[in-house]
Symmetry: C2
DNA sequence: ACGGAAATGTAGCCCGTGCTATATTTCCAA
DNA sequence: TTGGAAATATAGCACGGGCTACATTTCCGT
């Protein structure tokens, strides 16, 4: 039982450099930004549709209560992703809009790839909602290349 | 501004049945079980390697402190996924072992698919850690079919 | 066999993300 | 124009999941 001095992952040949802990720590970091990504994307959508993003609409689209949406918007504000005045709509800052654009592009790409490998569109759309946050730039590039190569 | 009585998603043609809220609610539900999945999988690995899963090893592999791992194990216990005696190792129940098997199979499949579409193995391994939790049975089946069809 | 190091457990803190209940503000229609 | 409905804000609760600090137990080497 003396495995304290073993180099991590030695012997199994799967991961010479990235340790388990790295991967999990990475996943946790992503999890903490996923909510911001969902909100900025949604606020962008609502702004495009209605000219503004209102708390009630945000809450309904996300399937949460208004106070939850309101609290999240406060955090987004603190992070400089949105601006808002009391009892008024919410609007993305440049940083927020940039995040929204990136998230949206990633979302579309993930859905396209899933469909390309045979996933039914409804399942692709459903699963992409969670998957999209965890797709790295490297993987995204690979998806693009794959999709381009198909026609 | 009267969109209160609009059918959700009407007009964009992307999602006739699954509303946005459904997708987000689904993603939140998955997020809450992801931690359990990570723990059961890891405990299975450690048990296979060392004959038992010890708190210290669990914590190190996940990149968290011992108290965090300990608290999580208490939750796993409460959920009937593991058994443990004070100051002793942690062991999976049948339910926990079943979850571990399922998670591991899913993980492998996701990694294989990512690699199959051209993602570098290290990135595939890294991204799969987050992605795996969000892949539905339907999508999993599609992955299998796709991989089978390639050779 | 026993003393110190390592492992484990526990207390208590912080913050996120959900909720309900209640106050406040806005806005539309009579 | 004003009263009531809808929207928004706020307070406070619960729990998850991370941490540090400290107590306790186990275990190994001398």
């Amino acid at each position: 039982m003396s495995r304290d001095d073993l180099p991590p992952e030695a012997g199994d040949g799967t991961l010479p450099e990235a340790t388990d802990a790295d991967r999990f720590t990475n996943a946790r970091a992503i999890r903490s930004t996923a909510l911001f990504e969902d909100y900025t994307e949604l606020i962008a959508d609502l702004t495009e549709e209605f000219g503004e993003a209102r708390i009630t609409d945000i809450a309904r689209r996300l399937g949460v209560t208004h106070p939850t949406a309101n609290k999240a918007v406060l955090r987004l504000k603190r992070e400089g992703l949105v601006i808002s005045r009391p009892y008024r709509g919410v609007f993305l800052t440049e940083a927020g809009a940039a995040m929204a654009r990136q998230v949206k592009a990633r979302h579309r790409l993930v859905v396209r790839l899933l469909i390309a490998v045979g996933v039914p569109p409804e399942a692709a759309e459903m699963d992409a909602e969670g998957i999209e946050h965890y797709v790295s730039e490297t993987t995204l590039k690979a998806f693009e290349t794959y999709l381009d190569g198909r026609q």
